[in-house]
Symmetry: C2
Subunit: 82 residues, 2 copies
């Protein structure tokens, strides 16, 4: 995986953990609220080589009760968050 | 692929095509502006079974000159766009 992708995904992981914890949800609790298995959530949050697809992103957003765009609402090297 | 995922990805494809065409970009022109191959862009826009990962989403956004969240800024079955 390219360094730029690793950086972008690390920000995603940080954002996912923040959104989950802000809602007082454990990884297991989140897995009960969407169609993403507990072990997959744990890997997504910790494994820097994991790249997830859009449908998983959408399900995580459903579990968190947020619009999917909130999961990627942070600064990117090629654009500033408005 | 589950029907709900197909619907969600169809909306993504429609949104991607709209954003690209609004900027007067062909698929080939977009491929020169990011790290996504022309044939991959064509498949992403037309193949309903294609699921793309986050790093590809980020690169497409870079090529379009938008924040990645704009590529998924539409209504979802589990949440209304604000």
């Amino acid at each position: 995986m390219k360094p730029r992708d690793k950086k972008r995904l690390q920000k995603f992981r940080d954002n996912l953990v923040r959104l989950r914890q802000e809602r007082g949800l454990s990884q297991r609790a989140l897995s009960f609220l969407c169609d993403v298995d507990y072990s997959r959530i744990s890997k997504i949050e910790t494994d820097e080589n994991i790249n997830l697809n859009l449908t998983t992103l959408f399900e995580l957003a459903k579990g968190l009760g947020v619009h999917p765009k909130e999961l990627i609402d942070y600064d990117f090297d090629f654009v500033k968050k408005d």
